[in-house]
């Protein structure tokens, strides 16, 4: 099933004929305090809601998708957790140490929205297409065997990234948390519809030019591996989202006027527009230097370093 948010906070299910059926009324029984409660409520009560959702899809009568404004399917997760470099990218390097960072939930935008580049002196602003996992229940300390059942579904993510800001001796990832820098869309596809989450093709097209184009088969760590690890660190809640990292071979600049389409086979595609009031310009096309740098990065030790870390 495909779950979407549209037209200023309505929740809908998307039928196979590309119509959307408003099911917001079904969620009122859970007494939402604000719109952001509705998706976690739907996730929490999904099994009991499912027969009614399916019968509404069968009944039809939805609006054509073209007639609604889709929004980010996630409104306000308690956490956006992002895996750091989690793809092999054509190398045969040993598996890297697992690491992740958090992104500001205020950064969320959705299909048709505009990414606003800030005036900060970034060296470049990159698109990073990723598959994102939406958690299905409150959980902590999941075993690897429990992980897949704790997943509600999958969505498409663009981790917009400003480079070259902050202290160069550390990796704060704050340049990924500017408002408008977290694109999610076009909807959440429930887990049962994805036959093999390791066989999905992820693409980015900027103004019709193909940039990123990679398969989730290249992922370094399995979903059970990194999600069980994350749950050993912190409690996860329904609707929390874990972004699985990108393959950097194919990143490129996002600049004023760009139309960026991020897509995953079997899930869907969504479009972001880019606005830069400073009208800065970067080379168009794939950033080969960045791709090469990531492939040859050797500053990641195979075992945890013995400290030297401070904040």
């Amino acid at each position: 099933m495909r779950i979407a948010t549209f037209d200023e906070g309505r929740i809908g299910v998307v039928a196979n004929d590309d119509t959307i059926i408003d099911v917001t009324d079904l969620l009122e029984q859970y007494d939402p305090i604000e719109q952001a409660d509705m998706l976690p409520d739907l996730i929490t009560h999904f099994e009991e809601l499912r027969p009614e959702l399916e019968s509404r899809i069968s009944a039809g009568g939805g609006k054509p998708l073209a007639d609604v404004k889709l929004q980010s399917p996630l409104t306000r997760p308690t956490k956006i957790i992002c895996m750091i470099g989690n793809f092999r990218e054509g190398t045969d390097r040993p598996i890297q140490i697992l690491d992740f960072f958090f992104k500001s939930p205020e950064a969320i935008v959705g299909d048709g929205d505009t990414v606003i580049l800030p005036p900060h002196d970034a060296s470049i602003f990159h698109h990073e297409a990723e598959i994102a996992v939406v958690m299905g229940r409150e959980c902590k300390d999941l075993s690897e065997d429990e992980v897949m059942d704790a997943i509600f579904g999958y969505t498409v993510y663009n981790d917009v990234s400003a480079r070259g800001l902050g202290r160069d001796t550390i990796s704060s990832f704050l340049g990924k948390s500017f408002d408008t820098f977290a694109g999610f869309g076009p909807w959440i596809v429930t887990r049962d519809e994805i036959e093999d989450p390791y066989d999905l093709q992820i693409t980015v097209d900027v103004n019709g030019e193909r940039r990123q184009d990679y398969s989730t088969s290249d992922i370094e760590r399995t979903y059970p591996d990194f999600i069980s690890y994350i749950s050993s660190v912190m409690t996860l809640h329904p609707g929390d989202v874990i972004c699985c990292g990108t393959n950097h071979q194919g990143l490129g600049a996002m600049q004023d006027g760009d139309e960026v389409v991020t897509a995953i086979s079997g899930i869907g595609a969504f479009t972001l527009y880019v606005q830069d009031d400073l009208k800065r310009e970067w080379e168009r096309g794939i950033d080969r230097a960045m791709a090469e740098r990531v492939r040859t990065q050797v500053d990641r030790p195979a075992v945890p370093s013995s400290g030297g870390n401070n904040s």
């Binding site: 690491d99 704060s172 050993s232 904040s311």
Partner: protein
């Protein structure tokens, strides 16, 4: 004004040695748990000061058996990287910050639980914490920025070292229970200068950290201005303004930690380690020296 959240979910004000229930001022704020309640309460708090004062004036002191963190789960929890001069005369470092898990918050009297992860050590980091009271973006780097604050509280940024790939470990700071906060949100009118406050932290009555917020590289308005240049802040967001690393030490099983910020309050927590690991007690002087040397710009 000193705003508290009691363990039985009453919103209260501490005044003249008594605690007064002011929950009635927020009766119209719907909520599910204290975690989603406090950001909503803080969203109207600054505009309801008069009603709160009336509730205190007309109320009787109550008995309080315990407190929760004044923001049990902030919408965002953000920490500044090394933001103190630490006795050096170096140039200011580039300003930088990162987000932590908001589920890491722990209340006063709670227990920090050290996880079964191979950290090289778990350090305490005492910090002045800022609590946001108004939605804001692009604040100026002067005292006008303080208008966005609901107030100040004490924060301990418990830090497991050596996890993750490189640089300061975000993972090591994001374990559940690793961000004790409290006891009260103290409004800005009670603090003449947030950059002239003594901060101390003791472990089992041994003084470890003892520094003044006057040593900050970027003062409180500059922290707020920098951060809101990146992102919108919303009521209930909490910002940890960095620690002075001269005085950090290990936290280990059975430790009792007492942190105090002058005029802000006293925050006490315990530590439990199911693995019963042991580290040298006292100040981690080697780490302190490394920070003084390594962070030179």
């Amino acid at each position: 004004m000193r705003l508290l959240l009691t363990s039985d979910n009453r919103i209260a004000v501490e005044q003249d040695g008594g605690v007064y229930d002011v929950s009635s001022v927020f009766d119209d704020i719907r909520y599910r748990t204290s975690a989603d309640r406090m950001p909503r309460v803080l969203g109207v708090f600054l505009d309801r000061r008069e009603q709160i004062e009336q509730a205190v004036a007309s109320g009787e002191p109550i008995q309080v058996s315990g407190l929760q963190a004044p923001v049990p789960r902030p919408p965002k929890l953000i920490a500044a990287f090394g933001n103190y001069r630490e006795g050096t005369d170096r140039e200011r470092q580039e300003q930088d910050m990162f987000l932590l898990s908001p589920d890491s918050v722990l209340g006063p009297g709670g227990t920090v639980v050290l996880p079964n992860h191979p950290a090289t050590i778990f350090h305490h980091e005492a910090e002045l914490a800022l609590v946001i009271g108004r939605r804001c973006k692009d604040l100026p780097a002067d005292e006008r920025a303080l208008d966005a604050l609901a107030g100040y509280t004490c924060g301990i940024d418990v830090s497991g070292r050596g996890l993750g790939r490189r640089g300061p470990s975000r993972i090591g700071k994001s374990f559940d229970t690793f961000t004790p906060l409290g006891p009260a949100i103290v409004t800005t009118d009670e603090i003449a200068d947030p950059n002239n406050l003594r901060v101390t932290l003791s472990v089992n009555d041994e003084l470890r950290q003892d520094f003044n917020t006057s040593d900050m590289e970027y003062n409180v308005p500059e922290v707020l201005s920098f951060l809101t240049g990146y992102m919108t802040l919303v009521p209930g967001d909490v910002i940890l303004t960095g620690t002075n690393h001269q005085g950090l030490g290990a936290l280990q099983d059975g430790d009792h930690v007492r942190m105090e910020i002058e005029n802000v309050g006293v925050l006490e927590v315990d530590v439990r380690d199911p693995q019963k690991r042991e580290w040298p007690r006292g100040v981690d002087q080697e780490f302190a020296n490394r920070v003084r040397g390594s962070v030179r710009a």
